[in-house]
């Protein structure tokens, strides 16, 4: 009896030891699905079809966007930005899809501008965006201005539109003026709250503006990077911090580096300062990028820098400290820097834990939402837009 129990226990331990390292092989995506080659991959195609369905069906759109806005209006706004970036990239990858992509891009941009005009930019912010302690007057959010400029810039990179040229140039002028008022060349996303996520998006939009309109902000962009290296880098990890006041003082809700900020910042900085972006990516990968038994994920905070779980980090998986939000944005970082191994590991995790659902040629992830799906879609098609902007 004793020996039988012993055999059973040994068998179970051995079986688990054999099975767990093999599990990832059943969820590993094909290299062709990673979007690192030309054309649009099957997964990207199906994800795009899902988003096009949302934007062409008003009922579905209202339902999906309202659901996100209920919890976080930022998600609705960001899903628009990532979708526009993705559709512009798809158009650049496959010319036959330009008309369809431009139609949806224009719809998204016009709808966004309309909401901003009618309800104010705060409509895309969390509640405290309505507070009146903005340092720079009149209040403006670089989160909204930066992403709208980026959307317009991406659209114009595919096919220019005269009316968008003026809109973009005006917004970029405002952003630069606002950023210059801060000693760390950063503008507020929320009252006295600057985010590296939003400011690097603004920098990328400014860069797109330079490419499109032959303006020259290279000195400003260079100065921003130099200032950031001096004042916005956390000394221990060498990574950019997430949130800081207009004067550069780190804020309690993002005093150190965060996965949800840094992966995006790395990607945006690729068109601003390639070497700095590469350095930040390598550091982020070392500090936050992880893989376990073939499954990739990202931590929200470096090991030496404990943070507090919030709406940005999303739920954190205990013990391994994996953050779903940071892992989603790590996909964009890995794709942007053509880090095939890490990208494949992250996709493997997405395949097992994202619960992909395919219906009528569309794909969405049950465990995700439209902003998560849009980030993934953009990660899988990014490349040509940034190539043009470099």
């Amino acid at each position: 009896m004793k020996s039988r129990l012993c055999i059973s226990a040994i068998a179970l331990i051995l079986a688990i030891a054999i099975w767990l390292p093999l599990l990832h092989l059943f969820f590993r995506p094909d290299i062709g699905d990673l979007g690192l080659e030309k054309g649009v991959s099957r997964i990207a195609d199906q994800l795009a079809a899902h988003h096009l369905q949302i934007w062409t069906n008003p009922d579905l759109r209202n339902r999906e966007l309202a659901q996100m806005r209920q919890l976080n209006p930022e998600w609705d706004f960001m899903s628009r930005t990532f979708l526009v970036m993705a559709l512009a990239s798809i158009a650049l990858r496959d010319e036959s899809r330009i008309p369809q992509c431009l139609e949806t891009i224009d719809l998204v941009i016009e709808n966004t501008l309309l909401i901003e005009q009618e309800d104010g930019f705060q409509d895309f912010l969390l509640g405290y965006g309505y507070a009146d302690n903005w340092k720079v007057q009149p209040p403006k959010s670089i989160f909204v201005d930066g992403e709208i400029s980026l959307m317009i810039g991406a659209r114009r990179m595919v096919a220019d539109r005269a009316d968008y040229q003026h809109l973009m140039a005006e917004r970029i002028g405002n952003m630069v003026a606002q950023m210059t008022l801060s000693p760390v060349l950063s503008a507020e996303s929320y009252p006295d709250e600057c985010w590296v996520f939003c400011n690097t998006i603004a920098l990328a939009a400014i860069r797109l503006g330079d490419v499109l309109d032959h303006s020259n902000h290279s000195e400003f962009l260079r100065e921003w990077v130099e200032t950031a290296k001096l004042h916005l880098v956390e000394p221990q990890s060498g990574l950019l911090i997430s949130a800081y006041a207009v004067d550069g003082t780190p804020l309690p809700n993002g005093p150190g580096p965060e996965g949800t900020s840094i992966w995006m910042a790395c990607h945006m900085l690729q068109v601003v300062d390639g070497a700095f972006a590469q350095d930040q990516y390598q550091r982020a990968k070392a500090q936050l990028g992880r893989s376990l038994l073939g499954f990739g994920y990202s931590r929200e905070w470096p090991r030496a820098f404990a943070g507090v779980m919030d709406i940005d980090s999303g739920p954190i998986v205990p013990f391994v400290e994996a953050s779903a939000s940071a892992s989603g944005l790590a996909l964009l970082g890995a794709a942007g820097f053509s880090d095939k191994k890490y990208l494949r590991q992250l996709m493997t995790s997405l395949n097992i834990a994202g619960f992909p659902t395919r219906k009528n040629g569309t794909l969405c992830y049950q465990a995700s939402n439209p902003v998560g799906d849009a980030v993934l879609l953009y990660a899988l098609v990014q490349g040509p837009l940034w190539e043009k902007a470099k």
Partner: protein
Amino acid sequence: MKQFLHSGFVRLAIVVVMAYVIVSLCGLREHVSILSGVDESGTMHLVFGLIYILSYAASLVLAPALFLAAIIETTLSKVNVLSRKGQEGRRLGCSELRERQRLRAPEHAP
């Protein structure tokens, strides 16, 4: 094969797989949207989502490991039985030899 099918591991693995098949057929997969952070529709939705996630995780991690454990257990048991038979055989062989030597001993005694 009979021993394999009667293994407790196989039975448990079948239960786990069956549970997953049932919750899938009942359409509980759509309740996984509880993980999306935007879907906040009721307690039952949460419960169904959790049931699906647990059965999914069990069918992926536990069921194949249990099947494998059953194969390993059957193999180890066979090896154990064979080695016991061998030991018994050797023990039997030794005692027979000793018995023969004992029986032979008086004949050769002076």
